[in-house]
Symmetry: C2
Subunit: 353 residues, 2 copies
């Protein structure tokens, strides 16, 4: 029935369902790919020492201090760095800025669930490219007419990274569209394409502070590319929101980038926990994709994903189960601390034995 | 000439030009309607004592603590409060959620410059309604067929508030569309329509922490309405950005709302400075609109706005000049501290005498 009165002007929309954020402190939360470790103590200091009186003014609209810090870290000029309010904000700016052709853009069938959201909102035509049976990307499938390409490296929720020589092959075959590589999880093991930015002026990389830099609570993301492409992302952002990144977030982000030792130590801890988890899961009858991320993508030969998910939930361990084609027998499990991982393994043993 | 290669897919866009953010500390900055006073000391404490370890997790996606704080303050249920990343973000959600009809939405010809931006992005048909010669809104002009109405109260850059009985008249004539009143500047002297929310289920009020609560650097805005209308704004927000308000901003916002004495003292100081400024300007040959905001809208009978703007700029005092029809002989000047106001008045005297 047609809506009446003022309700006829309401948007017709279905809400996005995010990973659960349980409030209890007793829950082991391995369902949102958050970092198991807190941010650098330097972030804590930057926030504690923040001069709140400056908050009466609008923040630096270009987030210049953070751009400079990131540019120095990655060996780029500040004009080649875009900063946004979380990587969803960064992706939104990229979709708006770069995907305006008539041909469909391409991305994998199994990937980050916000790509179709932005295509729908912005009415961007798209075509999903099925991953191979082993959930890898075959770059040969991306050598067709298209209006742009986006994929995460490593991909999510599969955790699998794409070799750089394969990425080069994809880029060489797609010089006349813009290719966005979503490097959300790259710091945990994949090989970044930062060094390809000079060769490919149609390449843009998106990043986040939410995973490897433990700042999910702060909402910070960034992108890197040519000065030309980044200027379009800035124009998009400026056109609808003059000041998206707040002054405290800028200070916290700078501190996080500065503390490189902490950053590398944290990643190294997570990677060794991940490898141990995969090994122990192997022994328990799991088949786990080769992970280059801070999570694993796994299935069991006797217990269904749904069954394991429900059992773990009972035990207060939250993991991610997707009721979606192709992946409905897999679990995505965030790599926690060693203690959390021990508890996860014990719980799984209890189910299996 | 048609763009070639990947450039053909770039967005065709013109960047928004925000008020200047001069970097020098010697500048008296009266051009962005920022609060002359810092946020409450309780905000400083909330930030200084913030436990940065929680930042590894995503923030409360519904910003619940802040919604509850605001709900209690305004006598509403938390479900009637929407929280966003600055009032531009809040306005964007409102435009998306509420302006989906075939008829044009209505707003004043002289008003906040982001309304047409959102109409363009979202392809919302609109019709601007000219203000009267004295820059007031005549509600009789809004008794025509429309797809929704939005206006700021007080209006910007005019600083003029609309009487509540006039607003009721407008609402009574527009029960079958959604009316959004942008109360960005309401705390400085206008009469809020919060108490009309129970009577008009098609009314939504938008607010910001950037002005009366001195948190422009933090990016916090909110909206109030019926549970039904607010649920649509939440659905819009969730559909494209699961976690827009960061954890530190939530804590700072709660502290700002809690310190009601500081809030009221600051406003009272600004209002008395504003009244003194208007009086002194009167004596110097200015004609100033009756202001209910933390800025004045003024013109001089002998010196052009452009001339005064350039002179003040030379003296290190930045005010806002709009090179736009109807208002190109007016200046918008933020009410500063008493000391800044003294310097402004001295500089103007120097020009005039």
């Amino acid at each position: 029935m047609e809506k009446q009165g003022f309700r006829k002007n309401l948007i017709n929309i279905e809400p996005y369902v995010a990973g659960e954020q349980p409030k209890s402190d007793n829950i082991i939360k391995l369902n949102a790919n958050e970092n198991a470790y807190p941010p650098s103590p330097m972030v804590g200091m930057a926030i504690a020492e923040f001069d709140s009186s400056v908050l009466r003014k609008y923040p630096d609209f270009s987030a210049e201090p953070l751009k400079s810090e990131l540019a120095a870290y990655y060996g780029l000029t500040p004009g080649r760095v875009f900063v946004g309010n979380g990587s969803d904000d960064v992706l939104a700016a990229a979709f708006r800025a770069f995907f305006n052709g008539d041909e469909p853009i391409l991305y994998p069938d199994v990937t980050y669930s916000f790509y179709p959201v932005w295509c729908d909102i912005l009415k961007i035509p798209y075509k999903t490219i099925p991953l191979k049976d082993d959930f890898t990307i075959d770059v040969a499938d991306y050598k067709i007419k298209n209006g742009g390409i986006i994929f995460p490296n490593p991909n999510a929720p599969t955790s699998i990274a794409l070799d750089k020589n394969k990425i080069t092959e994809l880029l060489d075959a797609n010089r006349d569209v813009i290719v966005v590589i979503d490097e959300t999880y790259i710091d945990f093991g994949g090989e970044s394409c930062v060094d390809l930015l000079d060769k490919y002026d149609n390449l843009v990389l998106t990043r986040t502070f939410s995973k490897s830099r433990s700042l999910a609570g702060m909402r910070l993301g960034f992108a890197m590319g040519s000065e030309e492409l980044i200027s379009y992302m800035n124009a998009v952002k400026d056109s609808y929101n003059s000041y998206p990144v707040d002054a405290v977030a800028i200070a916290a982000g700078c501190a996080a980038v500065k503390d490189d030792k902490y950053f590398k130590d944290t990643i190294s801890k997570l990677v060794s926990t991940r490898e141990r988890l995969i090994k122990e899961f192997d022994a328990l009858g799991f088949e786990t994709a080769p992970s280059a991320a801070n999570f694993i993508f796994t299935r069991h030969d006797k217990f269904s994903a749904k069954e394991i998910f429900a059992f773990l939930r009972e035990k207060g361990i939250y993991v991610r189960y997707f009721n979606k084609p192709r992946i409905d027998n897999y679990l995505r499990i965030t790599v926690g601390t060693d203690e959390e991982t021990d508890k996860l393994i014990s719980a799984v043993k209890e189910l299996i034995n």
